[in-house]
Every structure is written in structure tokens, then in C-alpha cells.
Symmetry: D2
């Protein structure tokens, strides 16, 4: 009865290959802009000489340009997948432990937690992701295997694995995350030991995937909960809708307003340089460029998504 | 070549009349819930015994239930219209004086202004709306007439007028707004006298309209900038997209995340009990119920929009 | 029974004249340092070529160096005197409307007010001084005359008067104070019209006095409540003690900790460049130099008090 | 030639024994008021049926009432002693790592740290005390022995020891302190491992002493740096003055303004129910009562100090 969604043939009239080539030409001239995340040693050394982009239609067709097969650590993009696992495990009870509002400010991380008594503002802030990780840990005996299996099923790539070097690198300099975790724990909002929560968190962030993997891994959010890669109904259509909504209002750190304004698609970024985005009912995509802007989002990734949305008119607004 | 948008006949298959009737039945049982805005004397007395809802399709067809023809003061809904006028007047230069990010917290109003040196977080917070009002004032000789003409053209109703009693009532108890305006002025971000800015602001808030008027007044945002009521191209398609994005991330006070999650439509609420919403490319709508929830949004209005979005599947996500 | 206080002859053994000369020699080499308060136009033009200091013993003897007879506007120093008048009028009831704690941070002015629902942290912040001014206004029919008479009696100088030019200059650029006053008013913590409160406040700040006047005006706080100038018991000994305590913890803006640490005397500063200080039971003093440090206190004034306290050993600690 | 300080015979005229008896009579009627610190399990069980007070003159005479020989854990009172050790070790370089201003608000603990990039506001907040502990740890090979030796020398009691049960109890529930320490570490302002800093910190807090011990341990701050117990010059007179100043502006959590106002003496409190205070050049004292007020200070201890200061007139103001 929902006749709003375009049919495959409608979408087929977009020249996605041409659009991606145009974007690739534009960003190529700007390689080198932005800065790598410097607080994780393993990321600070990545050269700024490559860009990749991949797009996956509901019918499975893939369009890609540049280093779309280059693997990088997905970092905060993983928060979408762990949120899905947590909601699958506990349902709406999750919202008693984490809120659904934009965070407002970068500096809010700990400040807001203190005002709000240990309830993170949303599942995509670090604080919220730690609570989500705690829920996943509590819900299964081997959370890391569970997440890895989920990722491999969603991406259709059994080679997806954790980059242990990056995971260790994050753990080594993670005093801020330790502070955050102990602070939440002091409010009783972590049930597992801080060390276990952070261990899982660092491993989810260090999952290594490429643009095609990640674009595919978002298919269930582009497909009303149905994953075209595995053929499974991963979550209900309503839940897919809601996760997309959360990405729109909180998926890109403090730049959610700016992303809605310039891109107009649900998206989730990571400091590894990746950004995934979803055109509900139509397609999912992923861009990668490791130079970040001052909000921590991939600088050319954001630009590429802006151009994509403008050229195709596929903003949700 | 944007083939994504459904044709009129597609949409026609939705039984909007039936859906509105169902919603009306559901909310009727809950009349009395919520609380009137009590800081404006004129609003505190409105009884909680009525609900109205109106929907306007791109082809001009109107569906309505309940007190859809009952007039109320539009309050913060007017911020969408003044933002449109301000962007029309100064374009992107507006963004040097007001930001586009969610505000984060209710208590942030003045706090955030102090941190961010007089630059409001977005044009829909009171602080941001005062800067927008200042821009409109500077851009034309008779701002009140300009706004009134705009509203009458958008709604197709020449009887739209300001409720002077409510405007006076707001001015009488407006020490907080005076504080806000002088505070912004102290940072040099108001160019007109504080009294003039507030006078205009109180009049825009006190515009009296009904659900049908307001749903129609949003047609240009449902129509890629084209107003189906007047036949005018009010703003560019791109600008319409962006205003919708701002409504999504900042249109419902501190509940923007919650609205995106449960409703999934760009929306703007007012403490008079109205909420307007847009299904881009498809329709615009308005609900009214003067009992507010603890975030200041119409309690049954929010519920009605949630139900509408679920029953039609017309969430943007 | 309180034998702790030194007798006049003990104190006489300090070579105050020599100490003041030494200090004068030291500061003379540093004239020009610091910056005038620039937000009040009348103060921004004062040259940084003069320094004055005066000291008044309990027996009435005066020691002075430099421009101790140069008149300047006392600005926030007046808050000590209006606090005295307010406590005289309403006693401990004042503390229901203003607290007695240090403010913590410069940026707290409005922020803290919002957290604490319109109750200023102490009577020496601008917000607190406005509430104090409101209390004084409510307690007598002609508050400005009352304060002027009080100042003339305390200083023994009938020529003390308000510098109307400076008062107007402050009012002209007073959007921040207007914001503050309306904000407090919105919480119901100002009983008089905002305009009246600010008018009184600007006049108290614009009182023009010299170092000898001001040092004398503090005699009642050095004398257990007894003013040696007029021979009157102005307040009880206990109240004098408490006002001194408030100056110690909140008298020098955000530098109260620093002042206690380096100077060790109850003191109150003003952006006109004056600082008064009290050695309880012994003497009162005043320094003036219009170049301020980054906390808004007279740069050489602070230095002179530090040196005075070290050379005499007259820190209260 | 500081003739301000009273001679022993002057002070002898105070009837300290009688004054302490009067205070004891007054507080006895109020036993049971206040609440034990409940976040440390070992403290939560202490009955509210005892009060102790001890006073030590410069000549060594001791006056005491009630349970002045009852041992309790000194908790935050130890921050005075570790500050002394840290200043002894690194001098003014300490002030590059911790500030000297009042903290403003209880909730500021982490918030302020975030604004101020890991520099605690003063050495008596938990955050500041952790930095001080870190400095002490870096300055000697066995910090716990060093502190214990210092405490025994200051109190003249070789039986002073750590209550290991309380230390463990604090460590068990110390997620907030872990958060604080990791947060400071993330700014590079802890040089030793977080575990080592907290281990030392919990042991300093769990030192078990009685009122007489603690009053004696403050003699060096009442004696211009000279400890009358050991006969040693512990710090310079100027440093003693400054530590007293810090106690005045920051020694009693968020109630420093209130303490200055009602007591008027440099003081440091602990959640174990102890409060030490100093009358510079005259005497040191300690009160104990484990029922706390809502700011975390001993309720009857504060009252006893207030009465003492009023009855003797020995406020510094």
C-alpha cells in the first residue's frame, strides 16, 4: 500500500556510474585536504592520497569508484550495527539506558552525562555506544563472535576481521574512554566490567572493511529491514526507519544539523574516514577518505555525499 | 530526472479520509491530557476539549477532521516563515549570524549563547528566531505587513491576522525574551533596537490561523519550493530541502530526536498547540491540540503525527 | 576580652610611610602595564600614567603616595556599600535572594543564574549587585540620596558625587546588564522595574572618589563596625566580620583564590582601577591604577597590595 | 617586626576550657542530626552518637571535650598534608598543574575539568588532590611511608596508621574517582599510572587519627610554618600563610563562602566527619562528628566552629 517508493526501473534511470565518476573527478583535485585522526596512532599515519566510494542498489547492483576495495577500520560506523544487535536483544528497554536526542555540543561528552545522571544522549556518542556495547555483551556469551558473524552476513564477505593492531592502539591511549566508562559505571549504567566493555568496544571500532562491504552492510536499513545480501529480514521495517532517524539526528557527531542541511540522508561517520549513508527504500552507499574536517567527519566524504545528493535529488527532504 | 516521487494517483490510493478519522477517534478518548503553556496568560486559559487536523495534497485536495477550522496563535511555527523571508533577503549570509545545529538541551538557551558568543545554535530556538526577526526587519520597511502578506498568500486566506491580545500578553511577561534579546545585542548580533525586534517577534507569534491555513502555508516546502496555493515558486527546490532538514533536526525544541524517531517527518511546533509537518513532494499537514507535553510540543498533536506516519508509511526514513 | 588585636602603639612601629614609598618606587617602573576597561567608553580613555595609594589607621592617621587624591569612578567597589545598606534594611532575609558562595568562573554570570533559578551566587557579582540594588531601592524613598549620604559620611568628604557622564556611558552600552536584569526579573527576583534598578546601579558605579576617600569609607569594616571618620557604629561587629569574609571569597571577581593566596586581605576591586582592602581591627587602604589584568582587577593595584601584605606581615592568614 | 600577634598570656585569658564545655553542651542536644557519607560503605555504618573537639595552643597546651581521642579516617583533611609535601617537592611549579580558585559548584568536578583542559581548579577538590598525589608519588620512592612519617611527626603520635578496611572500601566503589583520574590522565596531567595514584590517594584518605592528633598536625599552619610538636620548621611562614588562604577559599567543598561567613577561619573538612581549623599565630583545632550536612561537611562540626569563632572573637575577619 506504500506506493511512494520508486521501482527499480525508475531508479535505473539515474546514471549512477556517471555521477560517481563526476564526483571522483572533483574530489581527486582536493586529495590532501583535512587531517587524520591523531589520537589513535595507527590512524595518524594513513596517507591522504586516496578516495573510495561504493553504492549498492536494492537489486544488488554495485557502482564504485576509486579505492572502493581498500580496507580501513570502520570505527564509529560500527555503532549502527551494535545498536541493531542491542535493539534485537532488549527492544525498547534500551531507551531506559540511553536517550535519543542530539548531543548538542562536542564538549558535552562528559558534561552532559553528569547533568543527566549517566544516561547518554544517544547511542552514537561514545558514551551511548559504551552502554550499547554493554547491552550486547550481556545478551550473548560471545559478543565479539556475534558481531563478526553479523558483519560478515551483512556484507557478504567472510574475510571481514578485526585489525588487532588498531584495537591495541586505541586501548593504549584510551584514558578518555576509560574515564567515560568508569563515569557511566559510577551511575550504575554499565553492568559488565569496564575492561570487558572497552575490549568489545575497541574491537568493534577496529573491524576492517572496504566501501563495498560497508555499503552492503547498510542494505537492511535501505530495505525496510530486509538485507538483500543475505536475504534475511534483519529487523522490522519500523525499526529500520527508526535507526535511520537516529543516524539523521545524531550520526555525524556535532555536525548532524549540517549533514541534514547539505546532504539530507541518514548517515554515520567514523574517524577512520568512512561514512555510510542510506537512501531509504532505494540504495545504501559508503565513501572513504581519511582526512577529517574539524568536526571529525571525512572531509571529502562529506563533500562527495553532498554532491551525490544534489546530483541525484535523492535527499529525503 | 527525479523519478523517486510518487505520482498523484499513487498517493490517491492512500485512504487519507479514513486514516484521519481513525486518528480522530483515537485522540478523542485522550482529550484533556497535557498542559497549556502557562507563561503566556492568554494561552493558559484555552480548554483542552478540542483537536483538529488538516492535510493538503500537492493537487490542492484538503482532508480535515475535528476543529481544523479553529483559529489559534501559531507561535513558533511562524519561525519557518520568517526564516524563509530572511533567507530570501540575505541568502547564505544568514548563516554567519545563526548556526544550523540542534540545540542539545532546554537549559541551553542562554548558556549556549554565552559559550558561543551570541551566535544562536539554530533559527528555531528563541534566540535564533530573534536574529532572524532582526534580519527581516532590516530587509524591508514594513516587516509586519510583509510577513502578513506572505502568510495570506501562502494560506490563501486574506483573513489571517495578528491576535493583538496575545501579542500584548506575551510582551507583558517577556522578561526572558528581553534578557535574550539584550544578551544577543551585547554581542552585536542584533542590528535593530531590542524593542523593535521583540515587537515584530511577538506579532509573528500571535498570528492567528487554523489547521487548514497552516497546512496550506507549508505547501511550498512540500513542493520543491512551489506553493500550490498561490502558484508561486517561493524558494528554490534546494532551499525548500534545506528548510525541511532544519525542521527535522531542530523544529520541535528538545524533542527533535524523538520526533525523527517516532514521526520521521520535518515538523515545526508552537506552544499554541499547533504542529505543522511536511511529506516532501507529497503533502503538508497541520495538527492542533493545546495540551503540551513536557518538552512543549502538543501532546496529542505529536501522537497524531506518529500515527499518521505509521499508518501511511510516509516517514522520510 | 579579645586581646588578639594589636594596640595602636604596636602598629605604630610599622614604618608605613617607608613601605608606601618603596611600593611606589616599584610600581612607578611598571606604569603602562595592563589595559583599561574598554566596554565603558569613559574608562577606555584614561591614561595609564598614574598610581595612587592611601592607608588609614584606626586612630585616623593617613599615609598616602602618588595620586592618592585623584578621583576616579569606584565601580564595583560600591557593591560593598550597597550590601551594607541592604543588610541594614532587611537583615538576613537578603540571603533568600542572593547566595554567599564564590562564583567559580567568569563565564558563569548568566549560566549559573540559569542553573540556580535566578539566585545570584554572591552579592559582588553583577547579578548579585542588581538584587542588592533592588533591595536598597525598595527600602527607601530616595535610594540615590541615601547612598550618597552614606558615602559622604563614611569618607568624611561632602564633595563625593556621581560622575553623570560615566553613568550615561555605562547605560549606553549596557545590553549585558539589561540582559542580566531582565533574566533575574523573569525569575521574580527583582521587585522594582528593571530600568529603576539599572539606573541606581549605574549611579552607584559612577560615584567619583579618591584613594583617601575610599580607604576612609572602609574604616567601619576595619573597626568592628565602627566608623572612625563619623564616629558612628555603622553595623555590628559581627556583620563587619561577615562582610569582610564575603570580600575575601568573592571580592575580586574570578581571582578571589589568587588574592587570598598572594594578598591575604579582604578586598573589593572595581574596573575603574581601584581596589579597597581591610586589615581587620587595624587599618583600611585603597590603591588605584586603571590598567587591569585579565581578570579585571587593577594590575599594579594587586601588586601593591601583595607587596604591602608581605612587607608588613599583615595578612589575615 | 610583626607585633600584631597576641602573646601567650593574652590568649591565656580566653577560658578555652569553659568555651569548649559550652559548645559540647550545645551540640550534645543535637546528636543524630545530619547523615553519614553513604558512598563509602565503611563510613555509612558509623553511629551519630558522638562528638569530639580538641584545641592546641602554640605553647602546646591542649583543651579537649567529648570523644577527642576517638579515631576516625581523616579523608579529605589529608589533602592539606599532601599539598604541603607536594609544595615542598616542586614549589611553585605545582601551580602549572593545578589552579588556586574556588570551584564554584559541586557538579563542576568533571565539567570544569573539561572546560579547563584537565587543570583542576584547586588542590582540595578530588581532581586537584589526585594531581597533588601524583606529584608526591613522583617526588619520592615510597610515598605512603613518606606521608605516614610526616603525619606521625606532625601529630607526635607514632600510632597513626592507615585503616586498610576503609581504603579497600573506597577503592571498591571508586568508579567516579577512576573516571576522574583517567580523565586527568587523558590531558597528560597525571604522570604515574592511574592505579598507583588512586592507591596512594585511598591510603591518604584512610589515615586514622583522633581530634588531638589532627589539631596538633595543623600546628605548623598556626605557627608560621613552625611545628610546635616536633620543633621543626616545616614550611616557610609565607607558605603557611598561603596554605591557610587556600583552606579559606576552597577547604570546605562548595561551602567555602558559607564557612568564611559563619566561621571566619581557614578550615579543611573530610567526609569522615572531621574538620580542622587554624587561628593563625594562635592555635589549631579539630572537631569531629560523622553526620554531614548537604554540602558534605560535618554538621555539628561546622556549628561548633561557628560558636567557637563567635565566643572567642578569633575570626580572622
Amino acid at each position: 500500500m506504500h506506493l511512494r517508493f520508486p521501482s527499480a526501473c525508475d531508479i535505473g534511470q539515474h546514471d549512477f556510474a556517471g555521477i560517481l565518476d563526476t564526483i571522483h573527478d572533483e574530489v581527486r583535485r582536493r586529495l590532501g585536504e583535512g587531517r587524520q585522526a591523531d589520537y589513535i596512532q595507527a590512524l595518524a599515519k594513513v596517507p591522504l592520497d586516496g578516495f573510495g566510494m561504493a553504492l549498492v542498489l536494492r537489486d544488488g547492483r554495485v557502482f564504485e569508484v576509486g579505492r572502493a576495495r581498500h580496507r580501513f577500520t570502520i570505527q564509529s560506523i560500527s555503532k549502527v550495527h551494535t545498536l541493531t544487535l542491542a535493539l534485537d536483544a532488549v527492544g525498547d528497554a534500551l531507551w531506559e539506558r540511553v536517550d535519543r536526542e542530539p548531543s548538542g555540543d562536542a564538549f558535552n561528552s562528559l558534561i552532559q552525562l553528569e547533568y543527566e545522571k549517566g544516561i547518554p544522549r544517544n547511542p552514537f556518542m561514545n558514551a551511548g555506544a559504551l552502554v550499547v556495547a554493554d547491552v550486547v555483551l550481556s545478551s550473548c556469551s560471545d559478543a565479539r563472535s556475534r558481531l563478526l558473524a553479523f558483519m560478515r552476513a551483512r556484507s557478504g564477505n567472510t574475510a571481514v576481521a578485526c585489525d588487532e593492531g588498531v584495537a591495541r592502539s586505541e586501548a593504549d591511549t584510551g584514558h578518555r574512554n576509560l574515564a567515560l566508562a568508569h563515569f557511566i559505571k559510577s551511575y550504575g549504567n554499565l553492568h559488565n566490567p569496564v575492561e570487558d566493555v572497552l575490549d568489545f568496544y575497541y574491537h568493534q571500532c577496529a573491524l576492517s572493511m572496504d566501501c563495498v562491504d560497508l555499503a552492503r552492510s547498510m542494505q537492511y536499513l535501505a530495505g525496510n529491514g530486509h538485507c538483500s545480501v543475505s536475504g534475511e529480514q534483519v529487523v522490522s521495517g519500523e525499526l529500520a526507519t527508526r535507526i535511520n532517524a537516529l543516524m539523521m539526528t545524531a550520526g555525524t557527531y556535532d555536525a548532524a544539523g549540517d549533514f541534514a542541511f547539505y546532504v539530507g540522508l541518514p548517515a554515520k561517520s567514523g574517524v577512520g574516514g568512512g561514512i555510510v549513508a542510506v537512501v531509504p527504500h532505494v540504495l545504501s552507499l559508503c565513501v572513504w577518505y581519511p582526512g577529517l574536517d574539524d568536526k571529525g567527519n571525512s572531509l571529502l566524504g562529506r563533500y562527495a555525499l553532498h554532491r551525490f545528493s544534489r546530483m541525484t535529488g535523492l535527499s529525503v527532504f
